[in-house]
Structure formats: C-alpha cells, structure tokens
C-alpha cells in the first residue's frame, strides 16, 4: 500500500515532481562543480606558475663567484667548477621524480664574434631549448621553452642538435638588445672561433640573455672545448607552499618527523633530495619565485574554497526552498489522508520517502552534470580536465538527502498542523 502510494504520487504528479527533481539536480551540480573546481584550482594554478619560472637553482659546490656586471660575465669560461651535463638527469631518479617538471642547463662563455666585418664581444650562452632526455626507460623533453616560458622569440626557436655537422651553421638566438645595437636580423650569420652561426630568432627575456647569443648547449661545449660541462641549471619543480614545518632543519628532527618532512614536496626537501643524487651540486631555492608564489597560491585556493562554501550554502537553501514550495501546495493531500485515518507518522514517512527518492535521483543527475561542467571549466581555462573524485558522489548524495529532508520537514510539519476539514474546504 505504502509503495503504491509513493509510486502513484510520482506517476500522477509528474510536473510537480520534475520541478523538485530539477531543483535538486541543479543544486547538486553546483555543489559537484564547485567542490571539484575549488579543490583543484590550487594544483592547476601551481602547474601554470611552474611554466613561468623555475624555482630551484643548481650550481657546482666548488664554484668560484659569478662576476657579472651590467649583464656581462667577467669570469673566464674555463675558471671555476662545472656540473656534468650527463649527471643532471639523475635528479629525476629521486622520490619526487614526477614533481620535477623540467630543467634547463646553462653554460655561459664570453666570446668575440665577427659579423659584417667587425667584431663584438659578448656572452655566448649554451642551453637546452627542447632537448629529449632519457632516464631509465623513460624520456622527456626539457629546456628553456618549457621551463622559462616568459622567454619570447621572434622568428624561430633553434633545434637542439647534439652532433651538428661540422660544415652546416647551427641556428642560434640573438638577444634583443644585442640585435638592436649591432643591427642583427634573422638570417644573419656570425662567426666565432672559426665556426659560423646563423641567427634564427631574436630573443627577449629582460635578463642577461638580451645582450647575448643563445645557442644549443652542445655547440657551446664543442666551441670552448668542454664536453659535458654545465655551469648552472634551473629546475622547475611542483612544490607545496612553505610553512613553519618546512623551514625546520631536518638534521634536528626525530626520525618520524624527518620522514614526514622528506615525503612532503617542500622546495627544501626536493632540494635536499636532488643534492643527495648529485652530491657535488649546490641546490638553492630561487626564493623570489618560491617564497612568493606560495603566498599567491594560498590566496587563490583560499578564495575558491570560500566561494565554494558560499555556493554550497546557497545551493542548499535553493533546494530547501524548492522542496518547501512543492510540499506546501500539497496540504489538501495531507488533509485527505488524515481524514481517511492516516496518522502523522504515516503522512510524514510518505513525504520523506518521496523526498529521499527525489534526492537520490536528483543527486545522481546533478553529480553527472556538475562533473561535466568542472571538466569543461578545466579544459577551457587550464587546457587539462578537472576530474571529480568519486567520493564526491557519496558526499553529494548524502547532502542532497540532508537538504531535501531539512527543506521538507518544516513544510510537512506545517501542513499537518492544519485541521483536515478546513484544508479540504479550501480556506486555509
């Protein structure tokens, strides 16, 4: 009898039920989409930031000081210590392999170039542009194009060539200030140490590179006769913003705490692990990037969480209002049931069962729609989908039940308080 009442109620009141269902589904897709976006936006922006700036700097432990003045290095190319280029890939072998998104090695050397018949002294910088690198069974592309994406090139990026044929002239980038001063244009050729280089693009970085010639690393190594040498490298690693725990010295921690510190992707702990894999390399946080991005990131995630919270409350209220509206209009039904002898408990359980059914169906539809919306937002803004964790489905169904019950309960109580006779006569 009870099941039949529920079934008939759905069958005969299709319009009323579909409005309630619509409201629940809408509210719950808001909840799903906002939870997904709000919890994921921090990671997404973090990834975005990583493509704009490396956050770790690798230099040889035994190095002499940089002597840079006005963007020109006055240290001879052979002075000081070097890092082995081949060893760099070992940083991907640590625990945080997947957090290390890429790296770019640098080898600067002051050189004298001849072009258009006159000579120019400036720096020649060797680096990776998008070099394929192999470690274990995996390989990936890394270099300034992905690590320093604020570098702007007019023209074409040169290819990375390990073994450029001796007779062909390798492609290089000319810094924008240098190009302006020396009237360099794309396609020009310059000569250094008897080797011809062809300019394939003009580079703007607002750093020292603006006054330099930037070439593939292996060309520079050959030119200065230092195979496998790298002066420094920058690393882009996904890190967790630093907190008080991150700043503590791991040497003074208890073993359990040290494990926790070691297994959290703080910049400090990733730096320590890189140093463990590459013992003769000093790893420094690029503090300007690392320290400040954490702050910005926490502001953005905080904002999204608060907005999510506000949206959840709003969705709950909207569903409650919709549920109350549909039940309030059914007081005639309540009157009829009561005058036929139904108790308050029977009436309430009928209404709540209906509400529960609506909540489960609406919650399911809402979850699917919300997940789709979150995916689309991720795709269109970050170029990668935001996936919704399946646990959100449980949360959504549960909160849908909670909210519909809360919205119905008040209205049901109110409907039951009226005298059935008055309600049926239609003057309530």
């Amino acid at each position: 009898m009870f099941l039949r009442l529920v079934f008939e109620s759905f069958r005969r009141q299709k319009r009323r039920k579909s409005i309630a269902l619509l409201a629940i589904a809408l509210g719950m897709s808001i909840a799903t989409a906002m939870i997904a976006v709000g919890t994921d936006v921090g990671d997404k922006i973090n990834q975005e930031l990583r493509t704009y700036s490396a956050n770790l700097l690798l230099t040889p432990v035994e190095d002499t000081l940089d002597v840079n003045l006005g963007g020109v290095s006055l240290r001879p190319a052979t002075e000081g210590a070097f890092i082995s280029e081949a060893s760099l890939v070992r940083m991907k072998e640590g625990f945080w392999s997947h957090n290390i998104l890429g790296y770019a090695p640098f080898l600067p050397a002051p050189e004298t170039f001849s072009l258009h018949g006159n000579t120019v002294s400036t720096e020649l910088i060797g680096t990776y542009f998008a070099q394929p690198v192999h470690y274990g069974n995996e390989s990936f592309n890394t270099g300034v194009r992905s690590v320093n994406s604020w570098w702007k090139v007019e023209g074409e990026w040169p290819p990375d060539y390990a073994d450029w044929p001796r007779d062909a002239s390798p492609a290089v980038l000319a810094g924008s200030k240098l190009a302006q001063l020396q009237h360099l244009a794309i396609g020009d050729e310059l000569e250094v140490r008897g080797r011809k280089l062809r300019i394939s693009g003009i580079l703007t970085t607002s750093g020292v590179e603006d006054q330099a010639i930037v070439a593939p690393l292996h060309i520079v190594q050959q030119l200065i006769g230092r195979p496998d040498a790298v002066r420094s490298a920058t690393v882009s690693a996904l890190t967790k913003p630093e907190d008080a725990f991150a700043r503590r010295n791991p040497a003074t921690m208890s073993p359990a705490m040290r494990d926790r510190w070691y297994c959290t992707p703080y910049a400090n702990s990733i730096a320590l692990q890189i140093h463990e894999n590459l013992p003769n390399v000093r790893v420094e946080q690029i503090r300007q990037v690392e320290q400040n991005q954490g702050k910005v990131l926490s502001r953005i995630s905080g904002l999204m969480l608060l907005l999510t919270f506000a949206a959840l409350v709003a969705a709950a209220l909207a569903i409650s209002a919709a549920m109350a509206a549909t039940i309030l209009e059914r007081r005639q039904e309540v009157g009829l049931m009561k005058s036929l002898g139904a108790g308050n408990a029977a009436v309430a359980s009928l209404f709540l069962t209906e509400a529960g059914l609506l909540a489960v169906i609406g919650g399911g539809i809402g979850f699917a729609a919300g997940a789709l919306l979150a995916r689309q937002i991720g795709r269109s803004i970050f170029g990668s989908a935001i996936t919704v964790h399946p646990v959100v489905l449980a949360v959504v169904i549960f909160s849908a039940l909670l909210v519909t019950f809360a919205g119905s309960a008040g209205a049901i109580r109110k409907a039951m308080r009226f005298d059935p006779a008055v309600v049926l006569r239609g003057n309530a």
Binding site: R15, R16, I19, A20, L22, A23, L26, I30, A33, M34, V37, V41, K44, I45, E48, L49, Y52, S53, L57, T59, T64, L65, D66, V67, L69, G70, L74, N148, S149, W150, K152, T204, T205, S206, G207, I286, R287, Q288, V289, E290, N292, V296, R299, G302, L303, L307, A310, A314, A315, A318, I319, A321, A322, A325, L328, E329, L373, S380, I381, A411
Partner: protein
C-alpha cells in the same frame, strides 16, 4: 472600493495570507541575488586584491643608464610617475677585490629599502654597526666565512666592512656584497646607474607606468622584469577566468532553481486564477496581478540578497585577503534587474499556459 484599491488589496492580501509561500519564493530570490552579488563583487575586486600580493615579488621594472649615472632629476621623475605606489631603490655596481685577491661584485644601495624590496631574502642577522654590509651567501664564504669584519679593495682605496647580515636569494645576488651607498661611493666614486623599481598595481597600471617612464627618461633604458610581469598576467588571467566560470555556473544554475520554485508556486495557484477568471477578471488584470506580485517579491528579495551578498563578499575579503572587499553600489542595478526579469519569466510562462485552460475545468479539479 475602486478597482485600484481592490487590486492592491488583492496583491498584498495574497502575499500576507499565504506567508509560507511568500517566504519560500522570497528565499529563492534572496539566494540568487546573494550569489550574484558575491560573484560580481569578488570578480570586480579580484584583480586589485591579487595584484597586491604581487608586491612581495619585489622589483618588476629596472631602469638602467649606460655609461652614466641616474641624476637626482631622473629619480624625481621616477618618483613622480610612481606617485607613492611602489618603491625605488637606486643601485650602483662595481668589481672589487678581496683580501685573498679574488674578484667580487660589490653594490651600493640603501640597505633598509633594499631589504624591504627583497622581502623574500632569507636573512641571517648579526649586528647593526657602522660600515655594515649585506653579504650574499656565496660571497660570504669567500669574503668572511666566519662573519665579522672584512676588507675590500677598489683600485688604490680599500674599505673595511662588517658583515651585518648574510642572505640567501637563489639568484646572482648571492655572489654580491651590498654596501651602504655612502660607503660604496666613498670607496669607488661610482654613482648609481641602475634603479630597481617595484610598481604596485594591475598589469595595465604597470604597463602605463612603463610607458610614462620611457617617455620621461629618454636617455635611460626602462625594462620590465618579464618573469615577474608575465607571471602576474598569467596568474591573474587564469584566476579571473576560473572565478568567472565558476560563478557563472553557480549563478545560472541557481537562477534556474529559482525559476523552478517560482513556476511551481504559480502553477499551484491555478484555483485562485480560475476563481478570478470566473468572477470576470480579464486576462490583463490577472497578468498584472501575478506580474506585480512577482516583481514585488523579486525586488524585495534582490535588495535583501544584495545586502547579504555584500556582507558575504566583505567577509571573504577579510578572511582571505586580510582586507575587506567593499560592495559596489553600481552592482545593485544588474542584480535587481536580472532578479525581476527572471521572476517575471518564471511566473508569466505558467500563467500563459493556464490561460489556455477553461476556468471551470481547473475549478472542477482537472
């Protein structure tokens, strides 16, 4: 009772007698208006709020004069362009030799403002004394591994300085020794040729300040620090679009929710509608009655929602940005108008549907 008074009587009486219905309809409008106000207010303020956070990144523009130093007139020009929104630190560089005959880059600047500009430096402080120096971590290993006093030579002159603090920056500054500008010029006779500028503001404001600086300092080179400015543009852009997309989703869906609630409460009043029609009310009168009720509810709901939404946005600003987001009165117009339009759409379409049915059939309960 004339027609007009009857109309208002009906309008208000209906709102009052069925208070619970009024309350649920009102609630749904309030929720929409609140969310719309929160979303719009936060969105409009986002750029300036987040741009404030980028202050801590330090210098975002560098002014350099080659082969010459910045005159006091140049600095005055820079300060007037900035108008107090930012920081200017003139710096001079030179190469000195240490007592061990190694070369080291020394720089002269106002050390207090330099530390304020580079707030991310991890600084190990010693004592503040005369001839204080800020020593980069790598330089400190060379010039004075144990801290304390060290001497630097420049040409024939030499100066002895105290390590006031050692800093880690993770940039080439780590290889430098910063002296107070007075000590630096006494040693080298070099005046600052570079100024590190932190221009506060949104990317657009920074861009326009750059243009002004270039115009007023034709002999100097004015370059943005692309790494910082590009990051700011990217982060602001992405965050704005995410907030916009999420808010749009929330506001649109919650509006549909309100439409559903409104439609259902109008449809439930088919008896009132039929009675009115049976008593001889014209379609126009009935439409007007329902429309003005919806408008009244939407107006009240939007006003309350605007207040609540303003309070929520204020609280979000306080909780997240440590600075309240003040609601803009101008947003009241779109919030109120859209609430009314949505309420009218939500109530008029079911009315139109009812008008096609004969009153008698509704009254009979069909």
């Amino acid at each position: 009772m004339n027609r007009r008074r009857l109309f208002f009587h009906l309008l208000l009486k209906d709102i009052w007698v069925r208070r619970d219905r009024t309350v649920t309809a009102l609630l749904s409008v309030i929720v929409v208006a609140t969310m719309a106000t929160v979303a719009l207010t936060v969105y409009y303020d986002l750029e300036s709020r987040l741009s404030r956070e980028f202050r801590s990144f330090g210098a975002n523009v560098i002014v350099t004069k080659h082969e010459a130093s910045l005159t006091s007139n140049d600095l005055a020009q820079i300060n007037s362009v900035l108008g107090g929104k930012g920081e200017v630190v003139p710096v001079a560089y030179a190469i000195a030799t240490t007592s061990g005959n190694s070369r080291v880059v020394i720089a002269g600047a106002n050390l207090a403002t330099l530390r304020r500009l580079n707030s991310w430096w991890s600084i190990q402080d010693f004592s503040t004394s005369s001839h204080a120096a800020l020593v980069g971590a790598r330089a400190s290993e060379l010039v004075s591994p144990s801290g304390g006093e060290f001497s630097l030579k420049f040409g024939a002159k030499s100066v002895s300085a105290h390590t006031d603090a050692v800093f880690h920056s993770g940039s080439e500054d780590d290889s430098r020794v910063y002296l107070d500008l007075a000590d630096f010029t006494a040693l080298t006779g070099v005046q600052p040729g570079t100024a590190l500028l932190r221009i506060d503001g949104s990317p657009r404001e920074i861009q326009s300040a750059l243009g002004q600086l270039r115009a007023s300092l034709p002999s100097a080179e004015v370059e943005p620090v692309r790494q910082i400015t590009q990051t700011q543009i990217a982060v602001l852009g992405k965050t704005r679009s995410v907030v916009l997309a999420a808010s749009a989703v929330v506001v649109v869906l919650i509006m549909l929710c309100m439409v559903a609630t409104f439609t259902s409460s109008v449809l439930e009043r088919r008896r009132d509608f039929a009675v009115m029609k049976a008593l001889g009310a014209s379609n126009r009168t009935v439409n007007l009655l329902f429309a003005s009720q919806s408008t009244l509810l939407a107006l009240a709901g939007a006003l309350i929602g605007f207040l609540v939404g303003g309070a929520v946005a204020y609280w979000i600003g306080r909780a997240n940005f440590d600075a309240a987001i003040v609601p803009r009165l101008i947003l009241l117009v779109p919030v109120v108008l859209s609430s009314i339009v949505m309420a009218l759409i939500a109530s008029m379409s079911p009315i139109r549907m009812l008008q096609r049915i004969q009153p008698a059939r509704i009254l009979r309960g069909e």
